[in-house]
Amino acid sequence: MDNVTKDKAFDDLRTIMGDRLEISGDSFFSYIKVGPADILPLMQSLREQIGMNYLANLTAVDYTEEFEVVYHLYAIPDNGLKLVVKTRVPRDEAVLPSISAIYPTADWQEREAFDLMGIRFSGHPNLVRVLLPDDFQGHPLRKDFKKEG
């Protein structure tokens, strides 16, 4: 049942998105790698066509030259699919479209990625710091962040 759902879902995705996707998998998740420009249409189709209605986690990782934003998606009630969507942006131009209109739960999680990692999400309704004081300088989770004093 699992494989049928997965294969059908990926076939549907490939029909919609063409070859802008890179799909792989391991024993825990199926990974979808996509470019930053295709995040919005991918998330739209994942929510509407594939039925992944629950964005569990949105986080950002610093890979020195690039930042990678990772999204973990599930469906409630469970449909057996466990997806990880990954996208990379260059360090000096760390801008991604915001998916908070599709998944409202991304609202604060994107604010946290902006606050701690410095990635800007265009189209976000309220992109301000959420955990650090407003006058804090820098983005602490970056690998090159130096603590003063």
Partner: protein, 168 residues
């Protein structure tokens, strides 16, 4: 009963004789310190794990009320003891400072837990201050992560000794 025999005027025989008739001779300062030490009104303030042990100290098993310190006040204007339970983060620092300044004198500060004493396990992070004494004068430090309610009582009793003797 003579409160402090070495500091009474005249000879101790007079005061002892007066005490037999239930007349105690002392200073107002000593009486007020005696009362203050036995009725700290802590402020309900806490961030993190330490206030849970503070609440438990107020519960039925440990019972902070037997010392007279169970009157936790919500408003700083009515409190005289600030128990800093938990770490002071960058965002919280101006808030704690303001709350401390709103408390009327005489007031005391007890730093509860490793985070309030020195930054604790989060000292090498970027957002925790290295102890409450970087903001104001602390009277008693209670180490522990979190300190048991009994440790908190020990700290409160040390503060009581300090206040009774007028060392503040």
């Amino acid at each position: 009963m003579v409160l402090n025999p070495s500091l009474t005027a005249e000879s101790s025989d007079d005061t002892a004789q007066l005490a037999e008739h239930n007349i105690i001779v002392t200073t107002l300062e000593k009486v007020w310190n005696w009362g203050r030490a036995r009725s700290f009104w802590p402020l309900s303030y806490g961030c993190n794990c330490c206030p849970i042990e503070m609440m438990t100290a107020g519960g039925a098993r440990f019972d902070i009320a037997r010392y007279g310190y169970e009157v936790f006040r919500a408003a700083p204007r009515q409190a005289d003891l600030l128990i800093i339970a938990g770490p002071i983060t960058l965002k919280m620092a101006p808030v704690v400072k303001r709350v401390y300044e709103q408390m009327p004198a005489p007031k005391w500060v007890l730093a509860m837990g490793n985070c309030a004493t020195s930054g604790g396990p989060f000292r090498d992070g970027y957002s925790v201050l290295p102890g409450a004494d970087s903001l104001f004068k602390v009277d008693v430090f209670v180490p522990g992560c979190p300190p048991r309610p009994e440790s908190l009582f020990h700290g409160l009793l040390e503060l009581k000794k300090k206040v009774e003797q007028g060392n503040y």
